[in-house]
Symmetry: C2
Subunit: 371 residues, 2 copies
Amino acid sequence: MHGRLMKKVYDALLVHEQNKGEAFFRRLKRKRPLFVCTIGTAETGKIPGISAAGKYPELTDYTPPADVELLLLGKCRCISGVPVTPEGIPTPALITMSALRLAKIPALVVSGGLKINPCVPFLDLGGKLGSDIRTGKAVDNAEEVMWRARIAGENLSQTADYLVIGESIPGGTTTALGVLLAMGIDARRKVSSSMPGNPHELKIRTVEEGLRASKVEFGALANDPLRAISCVGDPMIPAFAGLVLGAADKVPVLMAGGTQMGAVLAIINALNQDVLDNVAIGTTRWIIIDKSADLKGIITQIADVPILAADLDFSRSRFKGLKAYEAGVVKEGVGAGGAAMAAMAKSGGSITKDTLLREIERNYERLVAPK
Amino acid sequence: MHGRLMKKVYDALLVHEQNKGEAFFRRLKRKRPLFVCTIGTAETGKIPGISAAGKYPELTDYTPPADVELLLLGKCRCISGVPVTPEGIPTPALITMSALRLAKIPALVVSGGLKINPCVPFLDLGGKLGSDIRTGKAVDNAEEVMWRARIAGENLSQTADYLVIGESIPGGTTTALGVLLAMGIDARRKVSSSMPGNPHELKIRTVEEGLRASKVEFGALANDPLRAISCVGDPMIPAFAGLVLGAADKVPVLMAGGTQMGAVLAIINALNQDVLDNVAIGTTRWIIIDKSADLKGIITQIADVPILAADLDFSRSRFKGLKAYEAGVVKEGVGAGGAAMAAMAKSGGSITKDTLLREIERNYERLVAPK
């Protein structure tokens, strides 16, 4: 399962369903993508030890808005600097932003529900901040948010040759685990983490408390995806799933993320399997080599969808804060892997992992470690 | 100045700056547009007698959201039926929706500031409901809204071959008059009205009260467009102007509207004249033949920008509510004229004023006068 042994197209690794994945990726070559970043926040993300998407729990409210400000502006507005983990490792939005700028890919922000709005334009779907899933009442208008996202997806699919959809929501792997378990996909110890030590026990305990509170047993909501989101999901999931459902019958959609894509895929699979032919999951090599998680083990329980991974390698970076990605910190988020692969595809391969690293380092120097 | 004597391309009349207008329109042929509807509401729209964009003044809060629901869904959600004038004449969004659907043109909604949000996805720019301009404090964050709109325009310009931007804001011709006078463009008795009798005296009195309250004389803000909006404008104007400023250096922008386009053009002209080569005004024949207003007389005071008009003709319609357009009711709005011309251009002329009327009548029958 190591990156170096896998077949590549440009610097994109064909991780799973290689033939379908290769065909999918070749369809994107030289085409014009739109990058969509779906954001949300939920109180789940503030449970101590759950998320590293912020220096401390209260700051996680600012991480998604700051991430998308970085994408659109090249710098944040609602916080100084950029979002960092408690150890000071910078947000993967740095990768996404560098890829989008290098390849001149336009971006659109979609909110599924936030506490703090970003200081840049964003598509409002009428969603609200998510609650702590331990209440069993995580999202209170999931159906409406998904319905509106579908309308948006239908329109956006007519503005680009394909969509790359990423996400930013602190605590998102825990809520993904919640949705997966409620829908009967055994993702225990399989979801990834932005932290080097993956707090599986804490995540499982948190989800089980939510399932108990909502009186939902493992698999009970396999055919009721909206209720799974409402009980133990988060506001990003219905927005993301709705966008895919609206767009993927017309254009290819690269679902850009790690194990959270499992939860989104489970929702889509339960509502309209027909669109899955036009869908692939795009992540980073760091997710693939993560021994504490198992993206493929989640996805194969759901549908035959290819997994692609950007072969990013920061081991030779000049900066400690980027080298840390090789030690398993952060790994993915804000559609970093998908954006990197879209940049490769759009440029016909002239943007490589090396040119990406140089641009990421340039932005790191400018934003994180100014001389 | 009568439509029948004017040169046409397809069913688009070349009203002003004919050569530039023809060249502009030919660039759009068979190309892929994005329709953007910029909406806002302001207390100015509730001054009795100012606006016919709603059955009665309090309902005008619902008109822009209902208009964009109609565009995206083919029906309204926040009200039953569709927005109508006090006489029951339906919104021009009926024309826009019919044109967009016939030509399969995607649409995006942008809010400059609203009291009631639409029940469909919309791009939020952080704007707020506008105040009554008689206070002299019409819009309280015009600069921020315009800045965010510019970011949106830059990104949207990369998703389409050209943009068609329309608007919906009740009372918009009065606030347009306010901005025009503050900037030294004599638009007295030149702005149009959605009512058959144009209440020029009431509009002038309202604007003069706002100018007095903000201590602004005619022309005093010729070089301070943001202050003109802040004092006597409305929240749609900075959103619309920002979108054009962000997009028109990359792609053609058809500014779809009537005399309100004068105010938007004045703002753009004061901030960046360079983009004006890529801009045209697209309206309806009803605005051009309106004896109570003078679009050309406003535009020629500002810049050499072509004016195009959709040669719509409802005189033979089966429906009274559409025939009323020929008597000078409504005339334009929600980018009706621009959307109609974009449909003609995208279809290479196979969508004509006749096919449009048939589709509009079909939708009228479905939504306004069901059998």
